[in-house]
């Protein structure tokens, strides 16, 4: 998937197209508003939500500050329980490891549980190039895969599709991949779910290799946890003989007990349920139950670079619940594709430019894809201050400065295209530290106010294309204050 994001236009252009698509606007509005209210109710059921959120934040911060120790610990525990641990510094290495492991089984197809890490590495395309077919089994991932589409949401990658569109995709595409859609398939969600059940059943039953990610890895026990709804996860995690899990290094929690926090906050934040239908936990391999071979691939791919940034590293606390997407007014209108990454929405706007750097146009534009309204921070179950990181990344874009890329310290140059803005900011800074100059400017504006248009030409159209300009008053406040001594002279 990542390959299809190369050459994405910067966020404002991509968002412009989305804003003008009424079907997309309608689909996103309906879905995000549905889940928003439900989440609020699910969270309100727990009167210790603030304490759970604080504990989640602290556990993740503690893990990150001792990440080297916990990585070694999880490696030892998984190995002791019968698993094999691999380390991948980047996407390419992770994909190569998985391709090699699949080939070693002699198989040429795998079933996949929805996994952000393998979306991020573009695993499906890499496997395809090696002659291995990867079947997505999560319903939304299936819709995306059948529709030759890109994911637009962390939890519900096909959120941009409504039921009618899903029916059409199933009808026209399922036969290309296996069992065709049932005759006379309608657009009721229950029938669509049933069609997916039938289509994927044969693939699950014959699968010899499963590929997954994980929501959590417990360092002290070596336990991996996958949180899901449909049962496709359980199918992939238990029926195949070989299981390969690709997991970002930040997914660790130190102790078994730590799960008690996240198993309460994650389901309520993501699907607004007290508990999701299925959660699987496994520690290495078990005799005669589930896969005989288990491989864990620990993925860096920009995470250690993110860890090196003392403001930005809090993004690594993310548990991928997607509450920030569902509540974001910008995401609701721009849609997930505009973010040019498998991580859309507010969390994507701080994660992608850190994992990938701010070198490309899309990545340099993401920190600005927010009105800084703070709704994302408010709902985040691990209290990631997304507005703080956005502003920090804006600074990196316009000012450059020290950063770490692929493990190396570098000094970034300010991004191009901000020269005029920088000059304006510096001019304003000068005026604002010289009140006399500010006052001269204000008076000039007031005296020429009859000449001011309510709309602007050129770049000013960005404002006045949709909004009238305010009228400039006859005198600025400070003149009135001085003239009337704060109104004491009785003058109006």
């Amino acid at each position: 998937m990542s390959g299809t994001f190369v050459g994405m236009p910067a966020f404002p252009e991509a968002a412009r197209t989305a804003v003008r698509n009424p079907t997309l606007r309608g689909n996103l509005r309906h879905a995000t508003h549905t889940i928003r209210d439900k989440r609020a109710r699910a969270v309100a059921e727990l009167d210790d939500w603030a304490a759970l959120r604080e504990a989640g934040k602290r556990i993740k911060d503690h893990t990150l500050r001792h990440l080297d120790r916990y990585l070694v610990q999880v490696e030892e525990a998984v190995t002791a329980a019968g698993g094999t641990v691999h380390w991948a510094a980047d996407a390419q290495e992770a994909n190569a490891i998985v391709a090699r492991l699949v080939k070693e089984t002699g198989e040429s197809e795998v079933v996949k549980v929805k996994s952000m890490a393998t979306q991020e590495t573009g695993l499906n395309e890499a496997l395809e190039a090696e002659g291995i077919r990867a079947y997505e089994t999560d319903l939304a991932e299936l819709i995306v895969q059948l529709g030759k589409d890109r994911p637009s949401h962390i939890l519900v990658p096909a959120i941009h599709r409504n039921r009618g569109e899903i029916r059409d995709i199933f009808r026209s595409e399922m036969s290309e991949w296996g069992r065709p859609a049932p005759e006379g398939l309608t657009d009721t969600p229950a029938e669509l779910a049933e069609a997916a059940r039938l289509h994927l059943r044969e693939k699950f039953l014959r699968a010899r290799v499963g590929v997954s990610g994980a929501n959590f890895m417990v360092a002290e026990t070596g336990t991996l946890v996958v949180v899901e709804s449909e049962g496709n996860g359980r199918m992939c995690l238990t029926l195949p003989e070989t299981l390969i899990s690709v997991v970002g290094i930040e997914k660790i929690v130190p102790k078994w007990q730590d799960l008690e926090v996240f198993l309460q906050t994650l389901p309520r934040s993501s699907t607004a349920e007290r508990m999701n239908p299925y959660t699987s936990m496994w520690t290495g391999t078990t005799d005669e139950d589930g896969p005989r071979t288990f491989h864990l691939v620990l993925l860096d791919n920009g995470r250690t670079d993110t860890l090196a940034d003392e403001v930005g590293r809090q993004a690594l606390r993310c548990i991928r619940c997607s509450a920030c997407l569902n509540v974001c007014p910008v995401y609701e209108r721009a849609g997930g594709h505009a973010y040019g990454s498998v991580y859309p929405g507010p969390i994507g706007a701080i994660l992608s430019p850190q994992l990938r750097g701010t070198g490309s146009e899309i990545d340099a534009s993401l920190p600005y894809a927010s009105s800084l309204c703070g709704a994302c921070y408010e709902v985040c179950p691990v209290a990631i201050d997304i507005p703080e990181v956005l502003v920090h990344l804006r600074e990196r874009v316009v000012q450059g400065g020290p950063a770490v890329r692929r493990g190396n310290r570098v000094v970034l140059k300010p991004a191009r295209g901000h020269a005029a803005e920088r000059a304006a900011m510096r001019a304003a800074q000068w005026a604002f530290t010289h009140p006399g100059a500010l006052r001269t400017g204000q008076r000039l504006a007031s005296r020429t106010r009859r000449l001011h248009p309510r709309t602007l030409p050129g770049p000013g159209r960005a404002w006045s294309g949709s909004r009238d300009l305010p009228e400039v008053p006859a005198e600025p406040f400070r003149d009135w204050w001085q003239r009337t001594r704060g109104g004491k002279d009785g003058a109006k």
Binding site: H62, T223, Q264
Partner: protein
């Protein structure tokens, strides 16, 4: 240099600015939500199971064989998977063909079985969750996954806890664990929940006293 050394080296360099001192973790959240009697906790479990579309039955130990016979009969089950050490009397009234949980069973064979009956490790009242840990009365993970009808017997109040923290205390992480809250479901179509995808589409939970 191996990728292992490379990644661990990057982590250590990335953390160079982090001060050594660190406040200890305070778990300021609750061990359980609200105060309830044992009977109220069991009632809450039943309510929350039903809220996520599990079908809940109450029974005494003595009534259990007849209830299980009725449930399998009503479902029209001709065959049922049986974990190795399911108490024998549970199914003494059942006519359906017993398929024993064996390593040699293929997924295709399990797909032809109508139902499965298991015990459980623990049940969580606040979330309406049952947890299986692969003990001999529960069997391999796949037997509660492939058949379309799962009947799970919970001994109340012994196997019931209030909360997620209490459930984790009772569970052994070295065992393969499956947490189940209602039948399989999805929110993937317009972010609205629909029951019935890949896992069992019918989940019946029997709360047995005594």
């Amino acid at each position: 240099m191996s990728s292992r050394e490379r990644i661990l080296g990057r982590v250590r360099r990335a953390l160079a600015d982090v001060p050594a001192d660190e406040a200890p973790l305070v778990r300021g959240y609750l061990r359980e939500h609200g105060r309830r009697s044992t009977a109220e906790t069991v009632e809450l479990l039943a309510e929350n199971l039903a809220d996520y579309r599990a079908i809940v039955h109450r029974s005494t130990d003595g009534q259990l064989p007849e209830l299980l016979m009725r449930l399998l009969g009503e479902h029209g089950s001709g065959s049922v998977v049986v974990p190795p050490e399911l108490p024998a009397y549970w199914l003494e009234a059942v006519d359906a063909t017993r398929i024993h949980d064996r390593a040699a069973n293929t997924p295709q064979e399990l797909d032809r079985v109508d139902s499965v009956v298991t015990g459980c490790a623990v049940a969580v009242a606040e979330t309406g969750t049952i947890v299986l840990d692969g003990s001999p009365d529960q069997g391999r993970r796949r037997i509660t996954l492939v058949p379309d009808h799962h009947v799970c017997v919970v001994r109340v109040p012994d196997q019931v806890v209030s909360s997620v923290p209490q459930a984790l205390e009772r569970l052994d992480p070295t065992r393969p664990l499956t947490w189940i809250s209602g039948p399989s479901a999805t929110s993937d179509i317009e972010l609205d929940r629909v029951e019935g995808v890949h896992g069992p589409r019918t989940l019946e939970v029997v709360l047995v006293e005594g």
